[in-house]
Point group: C2
Chain length 347, copies 2
């Protein structure tokens, strides 16, 4: 039986992925020299295509790292001398704050986006869509924050909302994601989008003698990216796959992908809003994620997941302490409306 | 025309790789949940098989990171409070020392393994086989260093000598490599082998308030590895491939792989030792790498590489400033004796 993965990441692979895995074999991609012209061309194409897909300004740089957790670390190192401020709406926001603490920073936390942010906070870290709870922070709220605190840097984790989330980058200094969620790719590649202002901050920190990382500092990544390279031998295979999937998405159009995502999210939330026993974990629709949906199913998570698995639908358990009472369902471009409707019939 | 890659990494893929790429598709590996039992089993099997292949003591832990450069960073962070000592025989040893400096450490350097090492040096960093120059440091010399300075930690970069290099781990505290060289896999995965003494040092540093990393500190990697997991969503695909290739190597036996490597290296060095115009870059056979061989070809590197490429043999240019006057030829388990002899006919 062919399985369909509704897990929130790694998830269902992008429908064309396997076709590209064959191409990888044919084109000797695993042997590609990461200092040669073919790799540079791949780097250039991938970042250009991503820029086009997500509407990223030309002045922003795009870096490849190994995971979103690495992106959290490099962002803290590159943008914070002493104090970072963290809006926490779930376990990934909490993890980011913990890493900032481990990196020796003074960590301020808030569970409300709208609280007063102390003067000494240099960077505001926001998990725009927290995969653990399914809390979605509307971009408008984030823009308002930037308008209120224009002198502060803002970094957002868009791991599980990309490519759906629509961002006006002029309000954002750093945004990052990994590729095993919305892009439906194997794990092992992270992407950081960085504003000129964030890079200026890194330069300032270096001048002050602050440690901003080593082989992968925003500075070293920036220097190499100018020459379409990475400091280390990167995950070339995944960069290649990402480029292919972005090209597919450009053909379909992000508008269409977003409309489809909205429709599928509506179906899912309506089903659980009208269910007798189960309900969406997030009550206020404004903060409900359209891409990683979390449902409170009492203590029936395991029972439901087993039932669904029997018919080929692999659905996520709750995160951490909520393992047994939440269902987490991904709604990425790889998930068809048809498969969602079929899956819901078994709940 | 099917190409054969003699580049020093990424290089020729392991002969069975493509078979396993098909298995990856069949077994839904890109969708594998990195917190589930199947991933834990994969982690356990891969580390156990690697332990068996390389004769790594049970008391040593094995971690997955994203590259050898990351391994350099995490080793410095986890093992050095103030001062590291670097034996430099090429560009990769130099890079390691630079990263230590960027991480705020006091960096001492030597180009001789046998120089006196100051009391304050906490960690001795040795590029056992430097891919840029083809300098091989015999393991015996490294053991002697540890015997002379038993209180110091020793870390070795075995990126391009693994799995050929035979290590008695009791003299070594950290060893690391990436998988795109001797294992013939796609790039994007690094492996660190860590002694209990190195981990004790990390614990001591944490107690002193020294930053040892964040999501990927030796400490956090160790905690997760105890439960057969990684802090981040890792490069599962490459871990899966590594496990398959290790199993293949266990079947052949490392003794046989080493004998074959010696024979192929002998053929290569004899050819260039007897050549009228070209010669091995390293004069003293004791320091000549059997796995990444560097030859001085005057100014004919580009001409030779073009000639070889025309018949399907892709050979490496010199590193950095030696781009135009060196040839670099890899001799990994993926390279057959037959293909080496054929390639030499065209030189």
């Amino acid at each position: 039986m062919k399985k369909i993965y509704f897990t929130v990441g790694p998830s269902q692979v992008y429908p064309t992925l396997f076709k590209y895995l064959y191409k990888i074999i044919k084109e000797d991609i695993p042997s590609l020299n990461h200092r040669g012209p073919d790799f540079k061309e791949l780097f250039k194409q991938t970042t250009n295509n991503l820029r086009m897909l997500l509407n990223i300004p030309d002045s922003y740089q795009i870096f490849f790292v190994s995971s979103a957790l690495e992106a959290m670390e490099r962002t803290i190192q590159g943008c914070v001398e002493k104090t970072s401020f963290h809006v926490i709406t779930g376990s990934f926001g909490k993890a980011w704050a913990n890493y900032a603490g481990q990196l020796g920073k003074n960590v301020l936390k808030s569970d409300l986006l709208y609280s007063k942010i102390p003067k000494k906070a240099e960077l505001i870290c926001i998990t725009q869509n927290d995969t653990s709870t399914g809390v979605w922070i509307p971009m408008k709220d984030i823009y308002n924050l930037k308008k209120k605190y224009p002198e502060k840097l803002i970094a957002i984790d868009i791991v599980s909302s990309i490519p759906y989330v629509d961002i006006d980058y002029k309000y954002i200094d750093v945004a990052f994601f990994s590729v095993q969620k919305g892009f439906g790719l194997p794990a092992g590649l992270g992407v950081i989008i960085v504003s000129p202002k964030a890079l200026e901050k890194t330069e300032k920190l270096i001048k002050k003698g602050v440690v901003v990382g080593s082989y992968h500092s925003l500075k070293n990544l920036s220097e190499k990216a100018k020459n379409f390279q990475t400091p280390e031998t990167p995950n070339v295979l995944n960069i290649y796959l990402l480029n292919q999937v972005i090209k597919d998405m450009l053909k379909i159009g992000l508008k269409k992908i977003r409309e489809d995502t909205d429709k599928k999210a509506k179906d899912l939330y309506e089903f659980f809003d009208n269910h007798k026993k189960y309900q969406p974990f997030i009550k206020n629709p404004r903060f409900r994620s359209p891409t990683t949906l979390v449902f409170d199913v009492g203590t029936e998570s395991e029972k439901l997941r087993k039932k669904l698995a029997k018919v080929g639908f692999i659905v996520g358990a709750g995160y951490g302490d909520n393992k047994l009472n939440h269902l987490r369902i991904a709604n990425f471009p790889s998930h068809t409306s048809k498969s969602i409707i079929q899956m819901l019939k078994y709940i």
